[in-house]
């Protein structure tokens, strides 16, 4: 995945220590620069960070003035801030990642507008021959119930056929790309008498599973928002793989925040007003008449999925 040059660059960066007066998080330092592989040909690396759990706590204490000086420990305060969605202290921590991912994944990724992005330019440089091909076990049918999701895995032969098509398309499109650029894979000119088509034009024939690279910088609150959506079961598997890798880095960098995120965002559930009223009636020992509850069928099934124990107490 990395050339020898890139590997020694990473090793050199990891070997260079310096003194700082800033907040240092040893576990983040340990992770710094090292690539975490994702989807075979992709990766995520933490390449810089600012602040940590301690900086979040300090930022919150500025707002509260002397008020909180001694009230609660750091973990408790972070959990309080997360539970009550006091977002501004979390904005004070920032992380920067280096990512390699297929274009169709970056198209979902960059819909999050609150980050700074520096992406490899295919107008300026030639894209490498790196594509994403799913593992056979990740090639699945269109879901019947979920219009934007996958169902069960394809039988091995059918999956192999899909892979053959994907590999054939990627290979031929990339060959044509190089042909238009009049260069071989090593970057040498093929025929000095033929013209070199502009890179910004030639690249238009590459499929969206070609790999691109970018630097991505985001504050912690916006990062958690991204992770809640993209590490979720409704997200496409491929971006979820990246979100999961980033979650692992977040856990090392800001462990208290990570734990609060899990409890109050990731595993938390939202009860609507009508659902809350139905639940209270059930807890009070009443049977709930669904038709009178104001809950739609879909909401009822979402409620039962969240609280299976409530099912028998609902009257259709």
């Amino acid at each position: 995945m990395f050339s020898t040059d890139q590997k020694s660059e990473i090793d050199a960066a990891r070997a260079a220590w310096a003194e700082t007066r800033r907040t240092v998080v040893p576990a983040a330092e340990e992770a710094l620069y090292a690539p975490v592989p994702v989807l075979e040909t992709g990766f995520v690396r933490l390449v810089d960070y600012m602040g940590g759990d301690a900086a979040i706590v300090q930022g919150a204490r500025v707002s509260y003035g002397k008020g909180t000086r001694s009230t609660s420990d750091d973990r408790g305060l972070i959990r309080y801030l997360m539970r009550n969605r006091h977002t501004s202290p979390f904005e004070l921590a920032v992380a920067k990642f280096h990512v390699r991912a297929p274009i169709f994944v970056t198209r979902q990724w960059f819909r999050h507008r609150t980050a700074s992005i520096n992406e490899y330019s295919a107008r300026y440089s030639v894209l490498e021959k790196e594509f994403y091909f799913p593992r056979p076990e990740d090639i699945a049918r269109q879901s019947a119930s979920n219009k934007q999701g996958r169902g069960e895995t394809l039988p091995p032969e059918a999956a192999q056929h899909v892979l053959d098509l994907l590999r054939e398309d990627a290979g031929r499109c990339y060959d044509h790309y190089l042909e238009m650029l009049n260069q071989d894979e090593a970057g040498n000119v093929i025929d000095p008498d033929r013209p070199v088509v502009a890179r910004e034009l030639a690249r238009m024939t590459l499929p969206v599973n070609v790999m691109t690279q970018f630097y991505w910088q985001i504050n912690l609150w916006n990062l958690l928002h991204f992770l809640r959506l993209r590490a979720d079961a409704h997200a496409q598997y491929e971006i979820r793989a990246y979100a999961d890798a980033i979650l692992g880095l977040v856990e090392r960098w800001v462990p208290h925040t990570f734990e609060a995120f899990r409890d109050y965002m990731q595993e938390a559930a939202l009860l609507s007003g009508p659902a809350l009223r139905a639940l209270r009636a059930v807890l009070a020992g009443q049977e709930v008449d669904l038709q009178a509850s104001g809950l739609s069928k879909r909401e009822v099934s979402e409620l039962v999925a969240m609280l299976p124990e409530i099912g028998p107490r609902l009257r259709p």
Copy 2:
């Protein structure tokens, strides 16, 4: 480009008039909903707007209170605001567009983070067989001087060969896309015994010149910023074609702002501190020693490109 259904939808929308107390701009109403063709298979339509030159002036007058009541006419005030980059009144006008464009163009487009976007989802629906293929005269060599630009047009035969490659790739990739989806172009199932691959997977084989659609809403200031960058000679020709089409709509909607934009943003030039000092010396009748001026070679050539008449007065 449009199906019969879509055409009658547009006609119906254009035929439906209602009464409003809001600011109405007749020339914008005239343009509303009608598609402006771009790049053969693409288009831009203005589908909603809020405010206009009058609303910008009114917003500015709130800030200045009684102060400006009578000082200047609307055109003069708008030019003053633009010249001095008083951006907030321009934020009070908003436009919404419906766009069809190739994916590689949207990737540049969506780097502008200050807009609201609703894009057609290729997880949810099947992409149509619509691709962008450049006209032969737009197929150009890689520029030698500009690493991210195009040079001269290719000879007709070479251009035709490029087009053949692009059409072949698009065609075959789309065939494979349908094969994975187990459907024909009309949307009928090909073989009920074969599995339908998830749309979110199958689409990964489509090249980035496939067309997508989106709604794009943006306030006028951010729109002008977009247009300055994307209607510029340094922008890739394809996105420039869209920016030019949008500029035409902006001219009809907010004519004073359009004129001020042209004079103070589009045709305006930035003189650096060192360039300004060199220019003042020239105007004072002195010859300017470039080595002492602090200007790099590149800056000197940029300055001469902007003010060709200054060339003879510079001493290398």
Copy 3:
């Protein structure tokens, strides 16, 4: 609150109807321009809008393509979008308000960064002699339990004393303001031989309950986020009064969205992962040992406040 001039301006705006092809919401048209009084000397006016429930639905259908064409009615789709926090279609509707409010309220208001603001400038113009003074029944003690809230109302005499202090300070500071500006309340020069202090300096003596004015434009999603925080019981009463007035306008403009907001945002409650597990145990007929549940004391009391019926089933 309004001068005769301003009243006739509003009347003229309300009397001027024109034809448009854009989405029109009759109930919003009815409300347009008319001030809704808030806090005696303040107001909120809807002065422009773009889109409505119909535009939200249309924006969502672009994303889903042919997929949703017939699945659900508008109300159901809006409720689905809100429940699942699909925010981008709500961004397609925009509202613009004209507000008069005390400075200390605007300081909370403008912390919401996703809006466009044009505020009356006290560098450019003279601030009017308009202050906010609470009604006696709104003057309350510092809350003992809530470090940033109010407790019970003050006894009438003590409340009157507070009001006396506020009125005395406002009056004298404003007198000094005019003295520095060397003008009387009607704007006439007091003494032509005395200097006029710069407005940007003189205004620094005015207390934060002086009234200011601004135009505020925001898309519907960000507006709902603002309303959830500022129409909430934890918000300061004074900003809540503005949020409630805006909610009334939102209800008229986008009734389906308003209803969904109330059910899925305003009245909804978030259950943390640990709280959810405790609740499931209770529903399954078990007693829950709080010490083993991972819930802090504060979380338990929040849970009991939300679901009072659960109280007897928890074992301390």
Copy 4:
């Protein structure tokens, strides 16, 4: 300005060094945590930073891929990026400041929406008895030519009178504030039988020259945009004092960027299309007829202010 406690906190922070693999900028480390006094009772402190000139260069090189590897040195690349407003690499550097400033300054400051702010809460805590009073030499007349600016300094006696008014108002308002809070300056209860008015209410009597504190985090590009507007001669003197202090810190942290900012943003001038055409005619040795030039009177005087040497060549 600082209590003994705060001073030892700062000393402790400055004494604590740790090892990091991240980019370290020694001159920024030297400045870290130390307050820079502004406006007598205010200050700015750099309390964290991420990246530096080196990180900007590295971010840019990601975009350009192998293309730029060896083309230019860091300083030249940064100047190129700044000159051409390639903003995204500058977004990769971030700074965090701790600021104490008067409320009327923060009201201008917080209009910049692209920063993260954690401000001391006057609902939660009691504001200290710290106010901004201008030095006599900063107390000036309203400018006659500039509706939002200051003219010449007041005569000493008149300035002293202004100061007396400001001090009297601040003193009495603060006394009333404490009276409502039923506490003395040391925080002791005055009369246990009297009620304590809610802090969120009592604070409304404080004038806008009372000091507040906040943490402010912003990326370098947005910071430079802030500095261009607020370190400018048109900005109010008081916020300019803060902008100048921050500029000093920026110079130490990112010296190449600072220099490029000065040359290409701060000292740079924008020439409109019509002004450019007039200038070219002058350089070609022609006299320019202003009436035919399309330049307004105001634009002509702006042009002459920028290039005084051009004056004699313009024909009114």
